[in-house]
């Protein structure tokens, strides 16, 4: 019986990087899942939460619980937004029945690579991408969701893909939400360090599980006219021969 997946698409992916979501749908359907997109969703509340406005973030979280109340399994192509739901919703909604709902919801919300490898037991999803690729370990996925190997296993399962290791792959790219604009100079300096690490590998592509990281890295790669391009893991996995 086909798995029923409810898509959780971060607001900035919906508005600025829709291809990531389109590719997520493609991959999930290719492996035989039934995919639904609850159109009532908006934002998980992370921007307000990270800035300290928890009272403004909480209604978004409570709304999210309502929108996804009947979802069996939720998949999200973003480590940071999955973290918001699984790690921070229980803290944001600290007590009462909604707190328990949040805990339960977190247990059935998965980042994409996490879902493919840990839930579906797959590392080969039928993708082909004959290019050199290097991997940036986005911070939330790595440290909050503890996803170290899963994205790499999936990349190794892609036909024709040559994976090259990056030095300091676990060092933050510098996006950090509003940090990227509030502390522009630091954010850009961190991004430049990351792009330096990418350049050393000579890879054609740098990939990650967080579209926000990739938007920031691409912004700097583009400004520097570097050879590499940023691409989301979902887009690699959606590629076919």
């Amino acid at each position: 019986m086909a798995r029923k997946i409810s898509l959780f698409i971060p607001c900035f992916v919906d508005q600025l990087q829709p291809q990531v979501a389109v590719d997520t749908v493609k991959v999930l359907r290719r492996i035989g899942c039934e995919v639904d997109f609850p159109a009532d969703q908006t934002c998980c509340g992370q921007p307000a939460f990270n800035t300290g406005f928890w009272d403004e973030a909480r209604p978004c979280a409570e709304r999210f619980l309502r929108v996804f109340k009947d979802a069996e399994v939720i998949v999200c192509p973003s480590g940071s937004c999955t973290t918001m739901v699984r790690v921070f919703y229980p803290e944001l909604i600290a007590s009462g029945p909604a707190h328990d709902e949040a805990v339960a919801l977190g247990k059935r919300t998965f980042e994409l690579s996490e879902f493919l490898v840990k839930v579906m037991g797959l590392t080969d999803v039928g993708a082909a991408f004959p290019h050199t690729v290097t991997y940036h370990a986005s911070c939330h996925g790595l440290r909050e969701l503890k996803l170290r190997n899963e994205p790499l296993q999936l990349l190794r399962g892609v036909k024709g893909l040559k994976l090259v290791d990056m030095l300091r792959s676990e060092e933050c790219c510098g996006f950090g939400g509003t940090f990227a604009t509030k502390f522009e100079s630091i954010s850009v300096a961190m991004g430049e360090s990351k792009c330096d690490s990418v350049a050393v590998t000579g890879a054609e592509y740098v990939t990650a599980i967080d579209p926000s990281c990739l938007m920031h890295v691409q912004g700097i790669l583009g400004r520097r006219k570097d050879r590499a391009r940023a691409i989301h893991l979902a887009s690699i996995l959606a590629s076919e021969a």
Binding site: I9, C11, D14, Q15, L16, P18, Q19, A21, V22, V25, R29, R30, I31, G32, E34, V35, F37, A39, T42, A48, F49, N50, T51, G52, F53, W54, E56, C60, R63, V117, G121, L122, T123, D124, G126, A127, C139, R143, E170, E171, C172, G174, F175, G176, F179, A180, T181, K182, F183, E184, S185, I186, A189, M190, S193, Q218, G219, I220, G222, R223
Partner: protein, 499 residues
Amino acid sequence: MSTTVPTPNTTPAGETPSALTAAQKFLRDAATKSADLVHREIIRKNMDSYDAAHNRGRARIKDWEAARRKCQEIKREAINNLDKYLLQFEQKVLARGGHVFWAATGDEACAYIKDLAVSRGVKTVVKSKSMVTEEMHLAPVLEAAGMRVWETDLGEFIVQLRNEAPYHIVTPAMHLDRNQIRDLFREKLGEDIPDADPQKLVALARRKLREAFFAAEMGISGANFLVADAGAVAISTNEGNGRLSTSLPRIHVAVTGIEKVIPRLEDLGTLWPVLATSGTGQPITTYSTLVGGPKRADEADGPEEFHVVLLDNGRSGLLANAEEREVLHCIRCGACLNICPVYRNIGGHTYNTTYPGPIGSVLTPHLRGSEFQHLSYASSLCGACTSVCPVNINLHHHLLHNRRDFTKAGGAKTSGERRQFKLWRTAMLHPRLYELGGWMMRRSLRLLYGMGLAGTALDPMRDWSRKRTPVPLPSQSFRARWRKELSKNDQGRTAGGNK
């Protein structure tokens, strides 16, 4: 030679320093330092060297997570029984003829030490490394009373000669290379080492400081730990300056925060290796010293007087905040500074605080007030700090808590942003409003960028577009595409391969 809070960047012409808030100064200094590629390279080399040593050090420990957990438990027990263990410590020190002075503020602590020094006719003071004495600004107080104060930790000695604050809590002169140090010694010590050989530079510093060690009437040290059941101050050093400062002068003053307490001597069996591993990658520091009192009658040498100054200076306030209490578990190893990508780019001086890096950003708003709250925001919340903290402090989550508490406290600084987020929240609670808002934003930015105005004053996203290619602006959102083409499950595709 005084150690003062630094103003390392020159003030732009026409601008008086006092006109800038701490936050504005931080942004300005951060921008300067972030763009300094020479600085970036020096720090990168230093940190790569630390990373290698640190990883080697961790490999020596059978179970690093077990070590972190044990250290967390030791400090948790100590802090949550702080009064009991401080009293036990005090009682033992007093029984041996030592003195214990409790100081509510840095000023009180400075006054006690100054009065002590003056009353004992102290002319020369040797100091071994103590961040708490930086926090109190002790050296200027003693110098104003006519005493000569020598920093004896080599890194501290170097920054003292430069009239600068320490750059890093463990390696104070990390930002300098050997040639700069050679030039400094030539200028301030009157001796030149043409080839700038580190061995010879160290030998020169040793020669100069030797005179101070033997002449000084008072030695001031910090404390890494206060051992309650032994009534002893534990001091971890490598150079031997901490040993000389606490052995040769006739008065030894140990200055410490009240939170340095640990319950038992044997707890050091775990804390010493963990501190050394996290701080420098060593299995243990060369000298792990324990001092419990003045010299006894049957001992060959040692100070005749022993004073411990316990400093509160806001720590008891942090203690009362149960959610933040674990911040007091910090053993000042410096690991979070070393791993922090923000620290690596802006360096220690930009923070303009005694304690920089992640622990400094968490701690300083509590110890010095909301003027430093910008430090809680100057982080991408990557969590690397938390991942290396040897006592398992959830540092980046505490930054989030600081942000939450800061906005809750309200005031003019946050009211503008709060209004923005209230608008944002309204949009997020109404999908059609959200969709409309998103579409309008993309539409208007595409228009603006089409006219070549990306990154200009008219661009609302200019803090992005100035130094990065503009954010992508697709003509259709995902939800629009979903509605149009994607909502039906296409069952024609076969499932992918297995693991």
